[in-house]
Symmetry: D2
Subunit: 476 residues, 4 copies
Amino acid sequence: MENLFQDDKLHEECGVFGIFSHSEDVALNTYWGLYALQHRGQESTGIVVTDGKTMKVKKGMGLVPDVYKDGVGDLQGFAAIGHVRYSTTGASMAYNIQPLKVYFDGGNLALSHNGNLTNAGQLRANLAKEGAVFTTTVDTEVVLTLIAYSARPTIEERVAEAVKQIRGAYAILFMTDNKIIAVRDPYGFRPLVLGKLENGWCVASESCAFDLVGAELVRDVKPGEMVIIDSDNAEPRSVMWADKLPEKTAHCVFEYVYFARNDSVIDKQPVYDARIQMGRELAKETKEIKPDIVISAPDSGTPAAIGYALESGIPFMEGLTKNRYVGRTFIQPTQKQRANAVRLKLNPVRSVVEGKSVVMVDDSIVRGTTSGKVVKLLKEAGAREVHVCISSPPVVDSCYYGIDTSERKQLIAARCTNEEICRFIGADSLHYISMDGMKRAIGKIDPDGLCCACFSSDYPDKADEVIGQEPEGIFE
Amino acid sequence: MENLFQDDKLHEECGVFGIFSHSEDVALNTYWGLYALQHRGQESTGIVVTDGKTMKVKKGMGLVPDVYKDGVGDLQGFAAIGHVRYSTTGASMAYNIQPLKVYFDGGNLALSHNGNLTNAGQLRANLAKEGAVFTTTVDTEVVLTLIAYSARPTIEERVAEAVKQIRGAYAILFMTDNKIIAVRDPYGFRPLVLGKLENGWCVASESCAFDLVGAELVRDVKPGEMVIIDSDNAEPRSVMWADKLPEKTAHCVFEYVYFARNDSVIDKQPVYDARIQMGRELAKETKEIKPDIVISAPDSGTPAAIGYALESGIPFMEGLTKNRYVGRTFIQPTQKQRANAVRLKLNPVRSVVEGKSVVMVDDSIVRGTTSGKVVKLLKEAGAREVHVCISSPPVVDSCYYGIDTSERKQLIAARCTNEEICRFIGADSLHYISMDGMKRAIGKIDPDGLCCACFSSDYPDKADEVIGQEPEGIFE
Amino acid sequence: MENLFQDDKLHEECGVFGIFSHSEDVALNTYWGLYALQHRGQESTGIVVTDGKTMKVKKGMGLVPDVYKDGVGDLQGFAAIGHVRYSTTGASMAYNIQPLKVYFDGGNLALSHNGNLTNAGQLRANLAKEGAVFTTTVDTEVVLTLIAYSARPTIEERVAEAVKQIRGAYAILFMTDNKIIAVRDPYGFRPLVLGKLENGWCVASESCAFDLVGAELVRDVKPGEMVIIDSDNAEPRSVMWADKLPEKTAHCVFEYVYFARNDSVIDKQPVYDARIQMGRELAKETKEIKPDIVISAPDSGTPAAIGYALESGIPFMEGLTKNRYVGRTFIQPTQKQRANAVRLKLNPVRSVVEGKSVVMVDDSIVRGTTSGKVVKLLKEAGAREVHVCISSPPVVDSCYYGIDTSERKQLIAARCTNEEICRFIGADSLHYISMDGMKRAIGKIDPDGLCCACFSSDYPDKADEVIGQEPEGIFE
Amino acid sequence: MENLFQDDKLHEECGVFGIFSHSEDVALNTYWGLYALQHRGQESTGIVVTDGKTMKVKKGMGLVPDVYKDGVGDLQGFAAIGHVRYSTTGASMAYNIQPLKVYFDGGNLALSHNGNLTNAGQLRANLAKEGAVFTTTVDTEVVLTLIAYSARPTIEERVAEAVKQIRGAYAILFMTDNKIIAVRDPYGFRPLVLGKLENGWCVASESCAFDLVGAELVRDVKPGEMVIIDSDNAEPRSVMWADKLPEKTAHCVFEYVYFARNDSVIDKQPVYDARIQMGRELAKETKEIKPDIVISAPDSGTPAAIGYALESGIPFMEGLTKNRYVGRTFIQPTQKQRANAVRLKLNPVRSVVEGKSVVMVDDSIVRGTTSGKVVKLLKEAGAREVHVCISSPPVVDSCYYGIDTSERKQLIAARCTNEEICRFIGADSLHYISMDGMKRAIGKIDPDGLCCACFSSDYPDKADEVIGQEPEGIFE
């Protein structure tokens, strides 16, 4: 049965946060950092803290405030890494909650990973042949074993040797008994930023986490870079570990379209600006529509809707009210009520839309399950015309870089033409932004340095790896 | 210690919902109705269902989806009433959760109340002298005893006799073993609407509840009216029970300012329209400010901010990001972090406000505890000027009609001048809408038919009752 | 479906505890007192404390340690009453948890009741005609209303006027804002004892509660007596409130057979002594059996089994092991396992019973559902003969005095002869103690002063009341 | 602060259960088996089930009925192993709950362990040098890695190679995707029994688990044996894997003194018989005492007390009542009440002990924290003399074989003479059974084949291993 609360979005799979400081409560700061990154993963969360000798762990299924509702006062130390994970349906088991932590011949080693490894299955099979045992179904577990098996003398070299063997997208925080090592893949698929505390350092998936802990955004970790933090005040050491960098970066464009928070800055591009600009580009591309009013599919469609309104001069109003109390648990509605169930989340404001020609701006259509219902609601509330404008191109292919796309066959744009989708959702017209328009909106980044594979099927690392089957990463 | 999550708002104390239908699952519909009314009360909720002989009850502290997470399948019948209640700090005891239900000589009797009775203490003392016992500290309990003590032959007459003795603000749903009786006070302080199902009837605090259960808004219950529902299809009987109606109604103006949902229509006035219009009026009244941009304190300030932008022609943007995952439980921040704690809920979007002169529109300032922190965040994020515009006049006095105002002495506008408040919150200027401007924005209602006592200290029923002490209603 | 964990016992419906002291933590002492009385009721529990002005309440479904797991530190005052209630299947609703507490014209009034009123329904109907409303289905609620309706000048007189109108069995603790009033019915059906603290007083259903709080057993509250405690040190006032006492008391014999704890002393009779003596009487009455060994159905059959062994000179051993971890929740066994399910609680010790002729002593057989299974286990474990000896006579009729007997038709001895029951349970022989033997064992009490109605159908108060229908007391 | 509910006992650290059957619900049977073994561990429990391809796991902290309260219906397969673990204070972390389960090059591998490895730390360090990573602090985790690293062709050979490298006490159940392998150490420290179902096989720590699942006790797994179960009906294969067996077995004598359940038979010795016999031996050794009555410290002292009474002819009675509702959570008593707090668990029966000379039989004294309190209670209840008789010798040294003894310095008999202990606990005399008396009571086992190291400091495997430091096994 269709899950009423499943939204029709792509989903980020994880967020990571790390902190090194002898004068801060590192566990509490990690808690706040994860709170700010909660939009990147709501299924489970964990924090690992080191005091130089032992590592303490707190983990659980659920949201950050719930998992740590009894506090983190028992996690004392000078460095910590944390993780939030998205709820994918499959292997939501307690033993898969990150950070992972092991004991090896170099002491304790913990790890938080955002991304997806494309050769984890092969590496795992090879390692098992050498006697390795695995306790999770998380692809990242192989990285820990690669490090343990490395014969290099220093932990930095062992990490470098290990990450050279993995393929795919990753921003990884490692923590040993006395340092944090942050690594970003050579393409820079997933974001990773470095921040400075008064007396210490932070690393996080997004800069919005720094605002909450009072850190200042210093810079992005570079694609192919390893940043080693082992002092409160000395500048972290930087090592460009990758033997060879690809010619172009491949920063995930969907971070700007939907994933990241409005208040984050990723790879120097402020996220909100990009979204306003996408709305403006969309307005330029759809001048033939002459609506009375611009509305958004809240909340993610709102920045582009405002941009659209600013560019077109057509008024923006909130044509749909979002219920702020919708949670994860609810009673299944009767069959009769199912048609109305979308109203649990969104209800039209009749006085805004009645008798009007409306442009509704949304950030994306993935499976197409929700848009049709919303268009129907708007029409029932009296909208004369409903034009749907999407601030990203049609999603036509799967992601292998840490995004939970549906299977390809569930992607409506992989199966249907624009007209078919428009008819399916019952809109008067349907417009996607052009690829160029979208890229133009992200003005701080070289248009060729963005990964747009889910729109174009053009996978940046296809020369490196066999791509084409569904992403593995989950072994069971 | 200051509660970090206490917002600086007035609070509605309750929402009510009732349904009568032999062909619907009345408990499930009440659940959905309460879901839509959750914004009117998050502390506790209850549902009572009658099958003609017995009444079954389900109650609990917490949000609607949590209290009924095991379903309402055990509540079978043809009529139900429900209730959501706001979390006031005092008597949040389980035995105070509504609906109240008693057994009396007329059978079972249940009650859901939105409002506040100003003479409950006196009535309670009188009844106690006649041998009555009370089991809750809810003011409404006296109404049940007044009905039980009435010697009138029919339940309708007993209810009428009872409500004639009470003073204050109320929208009450009574349920007997076989009918629902909805009563609204003669001033119409609190909203109450009647809706039609295909085969049955609904009553609710706001029309947004009807959208979710698939009912059509028929009309408002009139001030001083009793509506009796005892048939799925026959038009409910209407009795104007009040001996004498006041010359003017006294519809609560704060429902339009803040309480009600954007998508509700109360006493024929669409709520969202009033809010947009308040923003327009505010813009007209503050033409001397020449900001670069209009932002809102999300989410409640957004409609007026949009109205302000539409009137002034200055662009509206989201200058503050709201964390959608902020819940009720959280770890207390360290002293150092407290300054940052408002960022748990709101974080500025630097690229929007940096270097700009900003108008921030909010719906109200009550104690003034939050505004200063937000202004500070905006300045730290680079805003050149911050002008605060409020879409309601200064709140200077307590409410006796079902709103949880702070004590008078906590109301900043009761103690300070405009300039003092402006200085206190660190804004470059501070503007409240004028009383006339606010009333004009609520165009469908006679300006003299609104209760604005919290702004004017002009209590509509002062001739009826001794007003002046803090509201009672809670006896312990 | 048969409840695997329902034992085949009669069940006490309640235990009460009260304390008055300005130098003790009264809530904490009530907690310990209820802990000691937990065997009298496992369904729900409550504590009410007065500080002279307000009464604070803590209640919940479940065992004492669970309900108060967050402590009782918020219940401060100088007097408290508490209650534990047995899990009857019917109206286990939160609103029925005792102590009940109301507000009336004399202030606050709380009540804990052990017993059953036989005319509660009639009283309730009469009071409802006078305008009374009821919020629970607990029979005792009428007592509160009778007190509130009384026109007498003092609370003592109002209580006396009220209890004169009720019929049945009761030990009631009342608490007003400044005193505790303990009342026992004229027959003395249910136990109630008075204890002295160094600086204060206690009342409880059984003296074992005094041992835990450090009080000394002073005496039993007398049938028809009211004890008023309003001073830490002055002797409580005693009022013989009943206009007329019955010629004989009617102390419940089952308290000695099964309900009370081994370490309690009730109406001057040590409970354990009576049980040992019942075993001795049983041995005298069954000299024709020549077993090799005496075992008990643990734990309640053990004292009588030891008495039997002492009298007969036949060795006592533990032939059945009780699983100490059996709780209330468990997975339903498959059909195949159901035969073995009694082993969850009891498993034979093969080396004890193998090849032996065994006497198994138990305290009672009610529905006969368990005994047969245990006999079968013993035979499977190799017992050559199993003789079942019961330390009470056959239960043939319902109790109207506060005991949860099954319905009469479920009582196996009401339907079957001794031989039929013996055959049904598969024993080699079955022996019940004689009525006289049982009474003799309770040597401190006049044999005519015991209520044995469940064995004899001879109801002590049948002249007072219409007896014969199933006990009411629960209205829904 | 002293834990009021910590009893003064040695504690078994674990219980294991395994089942192989294509016609039983293996998970449900494991649940019942663990229910019967709950006395061997109350901290945590887990079940792993294989269907030939995947292994499903259910684990949690707490008692068996609580952890599996939602059932085990999702665990389908034809073989299962389970575990219960005792609550030691240290590393009660979720990731340490057994069974452990890993993926290795031979597929899935799970393990349940009862015992303690004395060389786990050394093995772990060696393996880490070869690249192994560890995720728990459970000593048994090394066994899994030893198996994974083994180059032998079959799983049976790999297991044998692994267990040859470990030292100490162990009964281990391994489960692969299609078989169960049970292994017992060469000394037979810990018990392990094999049972037959109608269509399948069981292995368990104690035979009482077989009674509940309907299996028949076949035999003990032999010291140094490996039993391989991979067929429902074929006799399991047996391999004597140990290169060399020690001359004498070393069956843990404390299983007979206290750990095992009365109804179990271990290494052919019925447990209950041994306990009765210990009481008899104790009576023979203490003929100089002439008490009026024999009582026990319930429940564990009862069998020996009965044996004592049978041998001496002095009557046995229950002089102490045990509260059957004492749980793990409770409110801390005030300082004043602490003296009484032992009464939460045990309360004297005054009528039994008053004026009497009493022998109280208990199974052991470890730290001596409880005995003194109980003696005091008995004296306060009027006992004229209290003689304490212990059915095991003084515990003077730590156990390295899977028993949670206190640290040596906490063992009262390691520090004090008999007279000192007697004075400390306030008894009139104190008698421990002699070593020979205890051994004689366990008549089915060669007296030299028992491990009595905690009484004698004579460690059976001292030739094999460096013994003398506190047991490791827990690494953090």
